[in-house]
Structures are given as structure tokens and as C-alpha cells.
């Protein structure tokens, strides 16, 4: 397998870039998404409004457009990010909107009695959210959240068009040089993504079963 031997380190580098991109963007999306969900269910109208505007804007903008805005638009107002940080930012901000909505549906699924009881005990909004509601909400939304994050891994492929040398950028790079290897390159790239997504899906499954709320 000459092809495998010649290009193994290329594939490994690209795979690690995709992995790093997915992990960092995923972290950003989870943290920001939780914050946004909290804002959307908060009793303060301006916070609710702000979060709603953010979610509606980013959910309805194609990811490529978000990339263009961050990579090419921001420099025009003198705010320059490197290509890899820009990609993390784009994918993270975009996915945060979806994480927020997934979490918010989980929050709505927690019975209102929980929130009322927390209030009755004298917990503040932040305390009742972090100690009572969100832990239960997370447990309910493990499958949809897993879904969003696995989709995000594949969304990172858009970064290949914006100067990040990740798995999808191997396609034009290797196929243009030697179009006979097309099938091998395709298989390699798909295997690369599956190495990230299949174990993630298995992990999501395990977590779901462990934290399942038996009703």
C-alpha cells in the first residue's frame, strides 16, 4: 500500500487538526450554549431578548456565511484572528445556538414543580438553575445534544475552505495531484471522521443510559 505509506503522516496531521477543531469548538459551544439557555429562561427581559436575537441570527445563517464574516469581515474592522482560531470561533458560535435550543427544551421538560420548590426553599435564580434545573435538564437532552455535537464535527469540514488543513482539505490536495487515488482518499477521509464520530456516538449512548431518568 504505497499510497498509505506515502500519505500516512499527512492524514494523521489532518486528523489531529480536525480533532482539535472539534474539541475546542465543542467546548466553546457547550459553555456558550448553556449560558445562552440560562439567559433565554431568565426573568430579565433584556437578557432574554439578547439571547433570542443571537440564537435566531446564528441558526438562520449558513455556516459558510458565518465563516466569511469572521475570517474576511472582521479584519475590515481591524479585528484579525488567525485562521484556526477563526474556525474554532465560527463553528463554536454557530453550534452554541443549537446547543442553547437543545438545552432549553430540556429545561422546559423539567417539571415546573422543581423550579417552584427551589424558589420556595429560597434559592436564587442562578442557584435553582445550577443546582436543581440544569442537572435534570442535561440528563433529559443527552441524545439531542449528542446529535448536535456529532453534526458539529462534520461541520468543521467547512474550515477546509478557509485555510485550515484538516481532513476535508486532503481531498483536493491528494486528488488533484493524482486522480487515480480518488477512492482511497475518500475512504481515508471518511474513516478519519468516523474515528471521531463513532466513539462519540457510543459515549453519548452510554451516558444516556447511565443518567436516564426512570419515570
Amino acid at each position: 500500500m504505497d499510497f498509505v505509506r506515502e500519505n500516512a503522516d499527512l492524514f494523521l496531521d489532518a486528523f489531529l487538526t480536525t480533532l482539535g477543531l472539534s474539541l475546542l469548538a465543542g467546548l466553546l459551544a457547550l459553555v456558550l450554549g448553556t449560558l445562552l439557555a440560562a439567559m433565554r429562561v431568565s426573568p430579565i427581559p433584556p437578557l432574554r431578548g439578547l439571547a433570542t436575537v443571537y440564537v435566531e441570527t446564528l441558526r438562520n445563517t449558513p455556516l459558510t456565511v458565518v465563516f466569511f464574516f469572521i475570517i474576511f469581515g472582521l479584519p475590515q474592522i481591524d479585528f484579525v484572528v488567525g485562521f484556526f482560531p477563526g474556525a474554532v470561533l465560527s463553528v463554536g458560535l454557530y453550534t452554541a445556538a443549537f446547543v442553547c435550543e437543545a438545552l432549553r427544551s430540556g429545561v422546559n421538560a423539567v417539571s415546573p414543580g422543581q423550579a417552584e420548590a427551589a424558589r420556595a426553599l429560597g434559592l436564587t435564580f442562578g442557584q435553582s438553575l445550577s443546582a436543581v434545573v440544569l442537572p435534570q435538564a442535561f440528563r433529559t437532552v443527552v441524545p439531542p445534544l449528542g446529535n448536535v455535537l456529532i453534526a458539529m464535527v462534520k461541520n468543521t469540514s467547512i474550515a477546509a475552505g478557509f485555510s485550515v488543513s484538516e481532513l476535508s482539505s486532503l481531498l483536493p490536495r491528494l486528488v488533484n495531484a493524482d486522480a487515480g487515488d480518488l477512492t482511497l482518499v475518500l475512504v481515508g477521509v471518511v474513516v478519519g471522521y468516523m474515528v471521531i464520530t463513532l466513539p462519540s456516538a457510543a459515549a453519548v449512548n452510554r451516558i444516556e443510559r447511565r443518567v436516564a431518568i426512570l419515570r
Binding site: F72, P75, Q76, V80, F83, A160, G161, F162, S163, S165, S169, L171, P172, R173, L174, V175, N176, A177, D178, A179, G180, L182
Partner: protein, 296 residues
């Protein structure tokens, strides 16, 4: 006085109309002479690709739809440019008129597979001839020799005069292109930034996110034109990129026919005229010397 004034006005009007009509007449003449010659009553050996295409009366040509001067789709969606004109010359040799040509967009990555799958009959799409590609398809031509060049911001603030000056500079190209691989292999000190289309490279240069853009001088010319004064070419090509016509591997008869047609076009001036109408009109340069056909 009144009569003189009327007479003068009528005379002026008459002159203007005469001028207009002769211009229109000239344009009409140009349009008919612009069209490449379509051979009449051609005969080809039975069973050959040429015979099949001539009998079908139509040919499918793969070309670029986004390269100014070579293959750029007009508002009606029909491509125009030097590659398009060369394809029309080849079709003309088969007795197929330009309006009977079916145009398909071939991007850099799918040119070989389109030929191998039979989606197109020939590919004329800024297609560099190289040995790796010759293993999958055959090339007629070359019909033009481009060269890799460098584009910088107007005024060349970093004083880049050639590829060796790219060391330590941020240079942009498109992933998978021959120029990008050339920089990787031969000028590794240059910091490569790779996008998927050249327009992003132009945006990045404009924003100052890269210092230079490198690819074939032909493509750079289109970017300079689109940049409207923001960019300039270093003008020092440092490779040779022979552009050929891609066709099915093993079809030696068809390849010989296309080579003959191209040589004929080199000699009778239609190739040079096609250049002057398209890429030459952008660069302002006269048609170069026709390249030597490679019959391998």
C-alpha cells in the same frame, strides 16, 4: 438665419447618423468574422470519435465557468473566453457550430473523472499537462503555455520580485493546485495559506491577511482585473504550465485530429484572433508565439 440654422442642425444630425450606422455595420461584420469557421461536409473514418460527433451534430465540452479571460460564465450562463474559443475552433473542425456545443462546468478536481465517465467529450479548462494526469486521460496540444507568477498589493510594499523573495512571507493559493504544490516542494520557507477558491485569496490580500497570491499568470490577470487597481502582477513567470485539451485515454485518432486542427488554427491566424478577442483584451498583450504541439 433660421434656414441656415436648420440646415446646420440637419447636416449635423445626418453626419451623426451616418457615423452610427457605419459603426453598427462594422460591428455586424465583426460578429460574423468573429465566429470560428465551421467546416462543411467533412468526412471522417467510420467508427471514429470524430465521425460520431459530426453525425450527432453536437459535442459536450467541459470548461471553467469562473476564470476571467479563459472560461467565465456570462449573465446568460454561457461561458466565454480563450478556452471557449479554442473549443469552438475544434468543434468547427468537426462541422459543429458554436451554438450546438453543450457546455459543462468542470472544476479542477473533477476534470479527469468527467472524461473517464464520458460526461464530456473534451475538456478545455486551463488544464495543465502533466505525467500523473496522462496516466488517466490523454492530452492534445498544448494550445497555450502559462506560467506561475506572483500577485501583490499595488506598489509592491514588500518588494517581492520572484519566488525566492517569498521566504518568510505569507503567500496564498488554492489547495490541490499545481502552483501550491510547487511552492510546497521548492520554496518551503514560504508560509502557505490555502483556500478553496482564488477569490478568497484576493480578499485575503486586500485585507492584508496574506502578502502575496501565487498561481498561473492567466488566473492572476483575472484577479488583477477584478481587484480594480488594488493588485498588481510581479510579472516574472517562473514555471511553464502547458495548457492542453483533455480527452479519453487511448483515443489516438481523435487526439491526432485535434492536434491537426490546433496546428491549422496556429497557422491561419484564428488562434491569435481568438486570443485577441478574449484574454488578450484583458491583459492588453498581443498573442504570444503558438506553442509546439506535443504528439506523444
Amino acid at each position: 438665419m433660421r434656414i441656415t440654422r436648420y440646415a446646420a442642425t440637419l447636416g449635423a444630425l445626418g453626419l451623426v447618423l451616418a457615423g452610427c450606422s457605419s459603426e453598427a455595420g462594422q460591428q455586424a461584420e465583426e460578429a460574423t468574422s468573429n465566429a470560428p469557421e465551421v467546416a462543411q461536409d467533412v468526412e471522417f473514418p467510420a467508427g471514429s470519435t470524430m465521425a460520431q460527433l459530426a453525425e450527432a451534430g453536437s459535442i459536450t465540452v467541459g470548461t471553467k465557468f469562473d476564470q476571467p479571460g479563459f472560461g467565465l460564465a456570462n449573465p446568460q450562463g454561457v461561458p466565454e473566453g480563450f478556452d471557449v474559443e479554442v473549443a469552438k475552433i475544434v468543434a468547427g473542425g468537426l462541422g459543429i457550430a458554436p451554438q450546438d456545443i453543450e457546455w459543462k462546468e468542470t472544476v479542477s478536481a473533477n476534470r479527469e473523472s468527467f472524461i473517464q465517465n464520458g460526461d464530456v467529450d473534451i475538456v478545455v479548462a486551463t488544464y495543465t499537462i502533466n505525467d500523473a494526469r496522462k496516466q488517466l486521460i490523454d492530452f492534445a496540444g498544448p494550445y497555450y503555455v502559462a506560467g506561475q507568477d506572483i500577485m501583490v498589493a499595488t506598489g509592491n510594499p514588500l518588494g517581492i520580485e520572484g519566488p525566492d523573495d517569498l521566504a518568510g512571507k505569507r503567500v496564498c493559493s488554492v489547495e490541490g493546485s499545481t502552483p501550491a504544490q510547487n511552492i510546497r516542494d521548492n520554496y518551503p520557507e514560504a508560509q502557505l495559506t490555502l483556500f478553496d477558491v482564488y477569490s478568497k485569496c484576493a480578499d485575503a490580500l486586500r485585507n492584508g491577511q496574506v502578502d502575496a497570491v501565487t498561481t498561473d499568470n492567466v488566473i492572476l490577470t483575472g484577479l488583477v482585473q477584478g481587484g480594480q487597481g488594488a493588485f498588481e502582477l510581479v510579472g516574472n513567470p517562473f514555471t511553464e504550465e502547458p495548457y492542453g485539451i483533455g480527452l479519453t485515454k487511448g483515443d489516438d485518432e481523435f487526439r491526432a485530429f485535434i492536434n491537426d486542427t490546433l496546428e491549422q488554427a496556429f497557422q491561419d491566424g484564428s488562434w491569435a484572433a481568438a486570443w485577441d478577442r478574449t484574454a488578450g483584451a484583458i491583459t492588453g498583450e498581443p498573442a504570444p508565439q503558438p506553442p509546439t504541439i506535443d504528439r506523444y
